[in-house]
Symmetry: D2
Subunit: 150 residues, 4 copies
């Protein structure tokens, strides 16, 4: 994972979010249950928009807007285990008018565990596609300065 | 668990709901994660009110009513494991004006795994206590004919 | 959804697994949380191998074998909601020596909600790749050309 | 919540653990799903023993020891919502030879959301009761009279 370290040092725009693995995250195989990595990636996205000053709760309550995942392509390389500390690294690949493409990796120190491409959309309470609010767009576009490969 | 078999044969009012344990339910200890029994008990309650003709979805959408758990006292006796088929057995202990008391056991065949007492309330979208709708009250009261101890 | 209906009528080998949406599956957006569709797909895979006589629990305990997902590409088309009954439809795309490729759709009646491609591998307790046990291979291969409805 | 504030000021030994509410924690009622508070309480217990130098992972792997919840009595007073930051406050009530009794509250600032009593036991891989390892006993006993920093 020298690669990852280099990408960070080079200042490519990446959001890093740390979390710990608890019993609730594991399964009888002794490792993190595969669906739970999607929870970790969503926590990182929430943190990212929060830090950019976006209030998802208010957007939901006042404007009825939500930002559901439209597609998620995830590759599982190595498992995370109980009490591991992992990092979700998020890079913006593309910010469109009504969708956002992200690369989200989960790492344990410099070891890549999962690798995902995620597309978010914007919808209203009736599920109709809506243009992204400017603040949400900015939250992600502000990060898109890096080369964002993944 | 002869006791349980007898209670059933005697016609005491009990709702029985079967479910299977999947990987998602287990943890690295190789057994069902302790919080997940509360999910199983909630599935059984949903099934119970559905069978009584109550449409929780409509009550939420049209009347803003929900039936949250106000307290849950649960005892863990033996663990359920991957691929076990378990039964949630629900008995009504008391139907009040604004709350319902249930006894909910989880069993694997005739073996008692967990034992819980659950109190449900009725609230509106603002969290204010409301009287139970008649149909919900009837759904549970219809069951309360048995002696229902547990 | 004519497409899907046609595929079924044409006798393509598909495993169908029904499940209900409970409160635990939903989120504050009022719809099923995106990670939970992966749980549904895993329940269907467990049901599929169980019906083929494979005992995952024994394989884990005696041989230390697990069948983790190596990749999952999922597209979210429409959301499932509280109390919906949905069907997970699984078709085998390819059975290799050490991996299995599946197509898994989640439908509400004839409406396609999510669409996924899933690759399973076989590993031992140390995470080393292993060849698929013959019985597991047969469980899936039997579907790849057969009529396989369930 | 003057009560709680007072207890803190009085220097009673309490472990405090902060966490944030994500979409995964909520349900279609717009609030945290009731089973998930048990996850929060377990995260706090893991943090508590970790800080005391106990390695649960090693105890599981080398000695086959686990510390399951034997009973949990939880009262739900007010709901937590999306993006809330909550605190799990843990106090030791009693450390016995083979079990530990805890009081675990979940608070949002000075507002008490849930209130629980939890009993932990020690078992081996076959589910047989075992005496608590000295280090685990000390982790909790150290709190029972200490000043409870976090």
């Amino acid at each position: 994972m020298t690669d990852n370290a280099v990408r960070c040092e080079a200042g490519a725009a990446r959001h890093r979010f740390a979390l710990r693995i608890y019993w609730e995250d594991t399964d009888a195989g002794g490792i993190v249950y595969y669906a739970n990595y999607l929870k970790f990636m969503e926590r990182a996205r929430t943190d990212l928009v929060q830090r950019a000053g976006v209030d998802q709760r208010r957007l939901l309550r006042d404007d009825g807007l939500m930002f559901p995942v439209k597609r998620c392509d995830i590759e599982y390389l190595r498992p995370a285990c109980l009490e591991d500390e992992v990092i979700v690294e998020t890079a913006v690949r593309k910010v469109g008018g009504a969708s956002i493409d992200l690369a989200q990796d989960v790492l344990r120190q410099d070891e890549l565990l999962t690798k995902a491409h995620v597309r978010l959309a914007c919808i209203d309470r009736d599920g109709r596609p809506r243009r992204l609010p400017v603040q949400v767009k900015h939250a992600f576009a502000g990060m898109a300065g890096g080369e964002g490969s993944s």
